[in-house]
Structures are given as structure tokens and as C-alpha cells.
């Protein structure tokens, strides 16, 4: 199968480069639970995102997504809001680890910025296509990280491990 037409398309929310952890999970709300922090996600750059994003939507951004702090709530808020994946040319290495540990798929796509706001894309596993069927190459993700996405994070992987030992 070459296209992903049977997949429900995802709406693109487009952001700039170097979106930092403090913009994703503002420090002043870090003492609260994830649902509260999620209300303030990206509020200093795009205030309507938190209330309008729908489960299954994807985020597209420029290079350096997730730079800054180790706070995994920066990825956690996106999982909480049902974001299906982030698509960007590069990520902060620390954010990259945190995202997969929470089951959030990050696609490293050199052509990410060709995608436009509100455009529809098709995404299944690691495969990404524009709505017209044109594939967008992404860097391959190691199997153990895809496993974490499938199990919705390291916590569930650890649970399985402990059950089996």
C-alpha cells in the first residue's frame, strides 16, 4: 500500500523555530497538574492553540523544537491535548528523549516547513504524506522508541518488563 488514504487526516498547527520548553510548559504553572499546565501551552506565541487543538492534530515547527529545560511536562501537555505527532527538522536532544518516554511521536523531517498551517497530512506509524499522497521523508526511528510510542510511554514499558520478570 503506497498511500495512507484509509487514515483519518491530521490538521497541521504550524509554529516557528526554537519553540522552547518554557513556552510549552510555563514555569509559573509547573507546580500544578498537567491539565492546568496544558491550558497555558504556547500561550505566549499562539494563545488559541490550547483551546482549539483537537485530538489527532499534528504540530509542525522549525528547527530546535523543545530547546531548554528538562521539564517533561513540555511534552506531557501535548500528549494531554491529544497531539498525534510533532514534525520538525530537528529537536532538542533532551526534549526528544522526554517525548518518546511519554509516548509522543516526534518525526524528524527536513522538509517539515513546507507544510502550511491548517493543511491536512496523513500519518501512520513513521510514514508521513501530504494530503495529495506525496510522501515526506523522515529520519528512521529506532524500534525501541517506536515501541514506547505504541505503549504510550516508558511507564507502560516498565510495567510490562516488571510483569515478565
Amino acid at each position: 500500500m503506497n498511500n495512507l488514504n484509509s487514515i483519518k487526516p491530521s490538521r497541521v498547527w504550524k509554529f516557528g523555530s526554537q519553540i522552547d520548553t518554557d513556552t510549552l510548559a510555563p514555569g509559573a504553572y509547573m507546580k500544578y497538574s498537567i491539565d492546568v499546565i496544558a491550558k497555558h501551552v504556547l500561550e505566549s506565541v499562539r494563545a488559541e492553540f490550547a483551546s482549539e487543538v483537537q485530538p489527532g492534530d499534528v504540530m509542525v515547527a522549525g528547527p530546535g523544537f523543545g530547546v531548554g529545560s528538562s521539564r517533561e511536562q513540555a511534552a506531557g501537555v501535548l500528549v494531554h491535548l491529544g497531539v498525534k505527532a510533532v514534525i520538525a527538522p530537528s529537536y532538542s536532544g533532551l526534549f526528544f528523549r522526554n517525548a518518546f518516554n511519554l509516548g509522543l511521536l516526534l518525526l524528524t523531517c527536513p522538509r517539515a516547513e513546507e507544510l502550511q498551517d491548517a493543511e491536512l497530512v496523513l500519518l501512520s506509524g513513521q510514514r508521513l504524506q501530504k494530503a495529495n499522497g506525496e510522501p515526506l521523508e523522515c529520519e528512521p526511528i529506532p524500534a525501541f522508541l517506536m515501541d514506547m510510542v505504541e505503549h504510550k510511554g516508558l511507564m507502560n514499558v516498565l510495567k510490562l518488563k516488571m510483569k515478565n520478570t
Binding site: Q18, D22, A28, S44, V67, S70, L94, F144, L154, L158
Partner: protein, 424 residues
């Protein structure tokens, strides 16, 4: 002959129990030390450990530091602090450092770090530990759960970017300026999550805390770790904090071999001017001359990056016998209680307070943005590491980053100033 290896490769090979590792290879490493704090630690880990029915793999290898929410400013923060203390007792943790300073500074001052160790920290500035020749990097709370349950973590063996600094720094120019200059040159993702290693005569000439500043800001360089090979200065520091000679027998082994594969960057310390990063990115750095005259409301000396003993001494050299500008509020939050006490003994604290500084607690304070922060519309010059929009207060706050020398000189004149002119 054995293949030439980088310092990073040597530490990772040891931690993964392999003879040698190659960049790009994914390995599992045994963790020698795991550090976490009141935000990333017990409040997150305890419920998960209970859910898993798991225990900490080795309490002796864990250090808990209370530094982000202390002193508690409100009921929510107080609750986090109480939970942290309660859990620390339940877990019977042998190493807890409570309200005595910032994790990255108190960790080495208690002798927890030494060359060759493989360490993780629940904080992004964990590469600070690299100044002691250990491979240390930051991870999130869920990944820390994996570490405390299994004692292991996966790692993609990094390449090494060697930052060679020749020459000699001018008076009033310091490690913070070197760090900002590298971030401006390479960008915030320039480190590409590889290992950077700081080397050369200008690095060797730095004291341990200045080296910590370089390693600390490896985070802003986008590196996973920021290493400095151990030498006599390292050894002296370690002896001073109680590391035993037999724990340092292999000290000479922990360096990058001649001929090991690295990509090199060359910098000249002699011609480096004080550096200032304009809002809202550390990469937005230029020579101080570009910003001289910029009016400021607040001068802030704080954080693991910029309020260690050596930072306080620098600020005191500028401010001794002087008064800060009446239009500026100068705040000083010494990075650790021990540093503050030593600064008191040396008359450094007195010089700062007499100049008009307000003393703040030994904690992350305004830098983390978790509690105390700056007011709407204020312009700040800060010795901290990050000036992201809305990190240290409302989005209208403009934060410039500079060295403690530059912050002190700017407090004196009420505008961003070139400390070399003030000292002249």
C-alpha cells in the same frame, strides 16, 4: 596499539561494560549517580514507584536536592516541599541537601562527582558535572523513573566537538563570556546533542567553578554533555571536598587521547570582549559594546550559572566601596550556602551588600521562573543561563544575559556597561 578514544567514549565504554564504543552506537549504561530535585524528583517519582511496586535500585547512588520550590512562596509550593521531605524520609535517602543551594553546585561541593563517573540529573543543567570529567546529562522525570528502577539508561554514543580556547582572558572577561560566545557562534542546537569538550590554555587556566560555568551552558549549546579533562586544579578541588586519593588513582586516564576523532572549533580568549545576550535567546549574543547604554531596572546575580563563589568575587571586585545606581535594584542569590559563607569570610558579601545589593535565598529563585520573578515591563541584566520570553516573569520582561562582572558594572552605572571601562 589501542584505538585512540575521546573522553566521552572512555566513560561510556566503562559504563556499558564494553572495550570500546563508536559514535552512533546505542548502548545501555549503568548509572553511577542519579541526582534529582524537588520539582523533578519525589513528587513525580513516588506515585509511579508505588504504581509499579518498585524500589530505588541503589539509594547510595541517589542525591536529592531541594532548590526549586524553596523557600516556599505559596501553599502549592509548600505542599511540594512537604511531599519531597516526607518521601525522602520514607525512602531513607542517605544524601539529601535541603535549602542549602542549587543542585549543580552542591553536588560537587559534597564530593559526589569525580572523573570517569557516568551520571544523570533530573535537570537540564546537569552537564555542569562535566567540569569534573564525568559524563553527566539531564533527563526528564519519567526517564529518571526508569533509572531509579533499573539503574540503567540508554545512550547514543556521541561524537565529540572540541572547543579549543587559546590565549588569555582579559580582566573582567570570564567563562560566562566564553560560553555565550560559543552559543552565538554555534547556535542553541549547535551541539547537536553530542558531547562538547572544552580544552586549551584558556580553559586550563580557569578555576573549577569557572569551568562549571562552561559545562553548565553546554545545555544552551544543545550538547548532551560538556566535558573538561581533569588536571591538578580538579584534583585540588576534589581533595578539598573530601574525595579520597584512592578514588582518584585513575585520574590521568580520563582525557581524550591524541589522535581521537573529534571536530574542532578554535577560539582566542585574548580578543574576547564581555558578551551580552539580548532578549529572548542566549544565542542572541553580541559584544557588550552593542548594548552599552541600554537602561536597566534590575541587575540579577543568581543561579548555578552565575552566582557561585567565583561569580560573587567577580561582582565584589567591581562593587567594592561603590554604590549601585539609584535607578537599579541589584539582587544577589548565592548559588550555595557554603559559597555564601565563604564569601562572607572574604568580605565579598559585605562589599555587595554595602553597594546596595538585596540578598536572596540560596535557591534557583527567579532563574527557574517557578516562583519569584520580575515585574511587568522590567528590563533586567542577569548572570543566569536563559532569557526565553516569559521564563523569568511576564512576557513583557526583557532579560539580557551577561557575566557577573557585566551585571555588577551595569548595576553600578544603571545601564549596560563594559566592565573593562569600569575597572580601568
Amino acid at each position: 596499539m589501542k584505538h585512540a578514544q575521546t573522553l566521552a567514549q572512555k566513560i561510556i565504554a566503562k559504563a556499558s561494560a564494553k572495550d570500546a564504543v563508536v559514535p552512533g552506537e546505542i548502548v545501555n549504561c549503568a548509572v553511577d549517580l542519579a541526582m534529582f530535585h524537588d520539582s523533578s524528583g519525589p513528587r513525580r517519582l513516588d506515585p509511579w514507584l508505588k504504581e509499579l511496586g518498585a524500589k530505588i535500585w541503589d539509594k547510595n547512588k541517589v542525591v536529592l536536592v531541594l532548590d526549586h520550590y524553596v523557600p516556599a512562596r505559596d501553599a502549592d509550593s509548600e505542599q511540594i516541599v512537604q511531599i519531597t521531605r516526607k518521601v525522602a524520609q520514607e525512602w531513607k535517602l542517605p544524601h539529601v541537601i535541603d535549602s542549602e543551594g542549587i543542585c549543580h553546585v552542591v553536588l560537587p561541593e559534597r564530593g559526589h562527582l569525580r572523573p570517569g563517573l557516568f551520571c544523570v540529573g533530573g535537570d537540564s543543567h546537569s552537564p555542569t558535572g562535566g567540569a569534573f570529567g564525568c559524563y553527566m546529562f539531564g533527563i526528564g522525570a519519567t526517564e529518571m523513573l526508569g533509572v531509579v528502577v533499573t539503574g540503567e539508561i540508554w545512550l547514543k554514543v556521541p561524537q565529540t566537538l572540541q572547543m579549543n580556547w587559546s590565549g588569555k582572558l582579559q580582566k573582567g572577561v570570564c567563562a560566562k563570556d566564553m560560553a555565550l560566545h560559543m552559543i552565538a557562534t554555534l547556535g542553541m542546537n549547535g551541539g547537536q546533542y553530542q558531547a562538547v569538550e572544552f580544552a586549551g590554555s584558556a580553559v586550563k587556566a580557569l578555576g573549577m567553578q569557572e569551568r562549571m560555568t562552561l559545562s553548565n551552558m553546554s545545555a544552551e549549546l544543545g550538547a548532551q554533555a560538556g566535558l573538561i579533562a581533569a588536571d591538578e586544579i580538579t584534583k585540588d578541588y576534589l581533595m578539598g571536598v573530601g574525595v579520597r586519593p584512592e578514588q582518584m588513582e585513575d585520574l590521568d586516564w580520563w582525557h581524550t587521547d591524541e589522535g581521537a576523532q573529534v571536530s574542532s572549533w578554535n577560539f582566542d580568549a585574548s580578543h574576547l570582549a564581555p558578551q551580552v545576550a539580548a532578549p529572548h535567546s542566549p544565542a542572541n549574543t553580541k559584544d557588550v559594546g552593542e548594548h552599552v547604554g541600554q537602561r536597566i531596572d534590575v541587575a540579577y546575580i543568581g543561579a548555578c550559572t552565575g552566582a557561585k563563589l567565583e561569580d560573587l568575587r567577580a561582582a565584589a571586585q567591581v562593587l567594592k566601596g561603590q554604590k549601585i545606581s539609584s535607578s537599579v535594584k541589584l539582587m544577589v542569590a548565592p548559588a550555595s550556602l557554603r559559597d555564601q559563607e565563604q564569601a562572607q569570610r572574604e568580605g565579598v558579601m559585605q562589599s555587595l551588600l554595602e553597594a546596595g545589593a538585596v540578598l536572596l535565598p540560596n535557591s534557583c529563585g527567579a532563574c527557574a521562573g517557578y516562583g519569584a520573578s520580575f515585574d511587568e515591563g522590567q528590563t533586567v541584566i542577569s548572570s543566569t543561563a536563559r532569557n526565553f520570553k516569559a521564563r523569568m516573569g511576564p512576557a513583557s520582561v526583557q532579560v539580557f544575559l551577561g557575566s557577573p562582572w557585566t551585571v555588577a558594572a551595569s548595576a553600578l552605572r544603571g545601564v549596560i556597561s563594559d566592565v573593562r571601562e569600569v575597572l580601568a
